[in-house]
């Protein structure tokens, strides 16, 4: 099976390299036959990488410990569920998984464009498979997951299979962790498709709206999945790391946030190009930046150049990634400069107070945020190079620099959609902003009366009220107009309004989700924590909660040994819940980990950690956190996800337009086939 895996990788590399050459030739010679050959090679690349993935999964699931990767990242008693996830637990497997997702996206891009974008497709294939060539050669030559263990003795080299493996990192043995990396990777990898279309558009000088229309959905899907991956990562950190929070501005967390932010900027500025034919250079720059940051994120996670609690796999792949990143920058920036004449803006800005300038300011904040986060993430390395000391750049730095920018962005989330394209009159501004400002003002005063004195928390909640009023007002006004003109009831009017323009109203739902997320973030200002040593009968009070320890129990499963604290909680004198935090010791990896007990409510989470046993007294070390509004972070994430799904559904008008375009393209393809 190891040979089959390596052979598949070698064949995949050959197909990818061929597809690069054939794609470029097919585009240059304008030969449909050569282009189709490149596309078939890409599909073969997908089949070969799939075969390699199946081979590695087979080795993991059947406990073939003669394979070095299986021996390192799995063990016999590991749940099957986690064995499947062991594919992306280590360096070699995760790079193979990355390559497989790339092959999947490439195959989908080809299958969905068999009759569309025919001038772009040869170069799209070449760029996709250029990336495929890099990753498959990395997996084949530098981080091959199909290496066999061997024993070197006087008698020579003998194959070796240990009786059991080292097991999966205990921190990864958590249910959401099984879907967190695939979502994150789907986000990172998916950004290659818009990049490939942008490069193809630059090469062919087809820089009209077509590539922009095509790439919008190809950007939204990975953007959505990357966001979901980030959210699941936060959920994992919250439930497993046991420090009571979900975001620590860790370098690897930052690396995942960067392409999401630049992708957000692109998804907004792309609308200006579609509507007004402006920002053409800027959109190409954003696509390049987003792809660069996606590869950079993978590099940061996998190279180990920064200290991080998340850097699970570190090896010698850093220099290869650095070279690849340089190639991306050189190739794309050169191409962009060569095509600047074709990227002239078609329109002028009519007014400073307009939707266009709103998007410009939104892009300004998003890119400033990208710069601040990137700068903070890399500063320890820069500091080491300049002054010989690795200065720490942690959460306090990011909170001071990024949070104010985040609040500006939150304001624009509400204000932007209220501005009209071309020009917004003062009357229109007054009409649209007065009610949201009154609602936000009232909310601000109520918060002050309720005792909210933390500046950022107050400002976040004040702006959240403003944005929610702005966005809900748009739904309300639109539905009310439909109720009058189309004689529909409110529910029908709301439904038809949304389905007529899913992109706009899906976007509004995303903005509402962002509001909910920020409400959750505001809760961070009011976190409370306490710590105590407890044995049976001991009490610990935190805010309104009284925790009583009912004892400690120990036991074991085939995979780990555990000590569990039995805790009964009362709130304001009434029975509230029972919680059972655990300290686990995984047998195969010989590593301890905490299993946090969380009682979530909409108002606050009660979060209990069994940190260990005190060596002097034998009592349990119990840490308790009361974290307000955390549930809203997860709800907000789900709303953003659902809003993006809604925006992906073709609206009624869009479907009619697409039908017309499809007919035109069919005619064009038939004509080119005939030639």
């Amino acid at each position: 099976m190891n040979q089959l895996g390596s052979l598949s990788l070698a064949a995949a590399l050959a197909f990818a390299a061929y597809a690069v050459v054939a794609g470029a030739l097919g585009g240059k010679l304008r030969s449909l036959r050569v282009t189709r050959s490149a596309e078939r090679a890409t599909l073969a690349f997908f089949v070969m990488i799939t075969l390699a993935v199946v081979a590695l999964e087979y080795l993991i699931l059947t406990d073939k410990f003669h394979n070095a990767y299986v021996s390192e990242h799995s063990n016999r008693d590991l749940f099957t569920f986690y064995k499947v996830a062991a594919l992306w637990a280590g360096q070699e497997g995760s790079l193979l998984f990355w390559t497989w997702l790339l092959s999947l996206y490439s195959a989908l891009a080809i299958l969905l464009n068999r009759k569309k974008n025919r001038q772009l497709m040869p170069y799209v294939v070449a760029v996709l498979m250029g990336t495929g060539t890099f990753f498959s050669s990395l997996v084949l030559f530098v981080a091959n997951p199909f290496q066999e263990l061997s024993l070197i003795s006087a008698a020579g080299t003998q194959p070796f299979a240990p009786p059991d493996g080292n097991g999966l990192n205990p921190l990864l043995q958590y249910h959401p962790m099984v879907i967190h990396p695939p979502m994150l990777y789907l986000g990172y990898v998916g950004m290659v498709v818009p990049f490939a279309f942008a490069m193809a558009a630059l090469i062919t000088r087809q820089l009209g709206d077509n590539w922009i229309r095509t790439t919008r959905r190809w950007t939204m899907v990975p953007w959505m999945l990357l966001g979901l991956g980030i959210l699941l990562g936060g959920n994992w950190a919250y439930a497993v790391l046991g420090w009571g929070g979900y975001w620590a501005w860790d370098p690897v967390e930052n690396a995942s946030l960067l392409p999401w932010l630049s992708g957000t900027a692109f998804l907004h500025s792309v609308m200006i190009q579609e509507k007004r034919g402006m920002l053409k250079v800027w959109n190409v720059v954003l696509v390049i930046t987003t792809f660069f940051l996606s590869i950079f994120g993978t590099f940061l996670t996998r190279s180990g150049i920064v200290s991080s609690v998340h850097a699970f796999a570190q090896s010698r792949i850093g220099p290869f990634f650095a070279v690849f990143l340089c190639v991306i920058v050189f190739f794309s920036v050169t191409l962009l400069f060569l095509r600047l004449d074709h990227l002239k803006s078609e329109n002028k800005l009519d007014s400073l107070v307009s939707r266009e300038s709103g998007f410009l300011f939104n892009n300004w904040i998003l890119l400033a945020l990208v710069f601040a986060v990137l700068w903070g993430t890399l500063f320890p390395l820069i500091s080491k190079a300049v002054q010989g000391v690795t200065v720490t750049v942690g959460a306090p730095f990011f909170n001071k620099t990024a949070v104010p920018m985040g609040l500006l962005l939150l304001f624009l989330t509400g204000a932007g959609p209220l501005l009209a394209w071309r020009k917004t009159s003062f009357q229109s501004l007054k009409r649209n902003f007065v009610v949201p400002l009154i609602i936000a003002g009232a909310a601000g005063v109520i918060l002050l009366i309720a005792g909210v004195r933390h500046f950022y928390a107050w400002m976040t909640l004040f702006l959240s009220a403003f944005v929610a009023a702005c966005v809900l007002g748009e739904f309300w006004k639109g539905a009310r107009t439909r109720m009058k003109t189309a004689r529909e009831n409110f529910a029908q009017a709301l439904y038809n309004l949304t389905m007529r323009n899913t992109r706009r109203y899906g976007g509004y739902v995303v903005h509402l989700g962002v509001v909910v997320l920020f409400i959750g973030f505001a809760g961070l200002a009011f976190n409370t924590q306490s710590k105590g040593l407890m044995r049976e009968g001991d009490l610990l009070r935190v805010k309104d909660y009284l925790l009583r320890c009912d004892g400690l129990v120990s036991g074991e499963t085939p995979n780990y040994e555990y000590t569990r604290a039995l805790i009964t909680v009362t709130k304001d004198g009434h029975a509230f819940t029972s919680m059972h935090p655990e300290k686990r010791f995984y047998k195969a990896s010989q590593q301890p980990t905490s299993y946090v007990a969380i009682h979530p409510t909409l108002a606050e989470d009660l979060y209990v950690v069994l940190a260990g046993l005190d060596q002097d007294t034998g009592k349990a070390v119990i840490e308790v956190f009361v974290n307000p509004l955390v549930m809203w972070v997860w709800i907000g994430g789900v709303v953003v996800f659902l809003g993006t799904l809604l925006a992906l559904v073709p609206s009624r008008v869009e479907r009619e337009m697409a039908e017309i375009r499809r007919t035109q393209q069919d005619i064009a393809v038939q004509a080119s086939d005939a030639i």
Binding site: A395, P417, G478
Partner: protein, 161 residues
């Protein structure tokens, strides 16, 4: 009229935000400083978030912080003392001196540079060419515009798409 509205909004905004800011100069606590200080046991976490429960570094540094708070020192002085004792690596964010100052300045510079860039772009784009200026359309009847907006909104294709 616009300036009147702007003044009211500004006054209300400043008044309310200054009220909200009133609580910012709170007395330091071990927990608040624990978020600003790194644990040097190798865990890559702050003092408050070190995953090693019996960490000797956490115990030692927390004891120092408690002592300095009891002596009436403020947060800045306590952080300076810790940096002298353990080196700048103990601080969770770069000190605002020497080369490290660039860590703090550059995000602001980036923000302002971006703003300048946006302003320049907007000004350049707003400059109408003579031909365009001559061909500028006559003002549209506001009633007609409102009727069109109403109709487009009803169809779900509002002018602010």
């Amino acid at each position: 009229m616009p300036s009147k509205w702007a003044s009211i909004i500004l006054a209300v905004g400043l008044g309310v935000t200054s009220l909200a800011r009133a609580d910012r100069s709170a007395k330091p606590t071990v927990e608040s400083i624990g978020d600003e200080v790194m644990c040097l046991c190798g865990c890559v976490a702050t003092l408050n978030h070190c995953p090693h429960r019996d960490c000797a570094t956490v115990a030692e540094v927390r004891a120092i912080i408690e002592k300095e708070i009891a002596a009436g020192k403020d947060e800045t002085t306590i952080l300076q003392d810790l940096a002298i004792r353990y080196g700048v690596q103990v601080l969770a964010s770069p000190p605002g001196k020497g080369f490290n100052l660039t860590a703090w300045i550059l995000p602001g510079v980036g923000l302002l540079a971006g703003l300048s860039f946006v302003v320049i772009i907007v000004r350049r784009w707003r400059k109408p060419s003579p031909a365009v200026a001559d061909a500028s359309p006559k003002p549209v009847d506001p009633k007609l515009l409102a009727a069109v907006e109403e109709e487009m909104k009803a169809s779900g294709l509002g002018v602010r798409d």
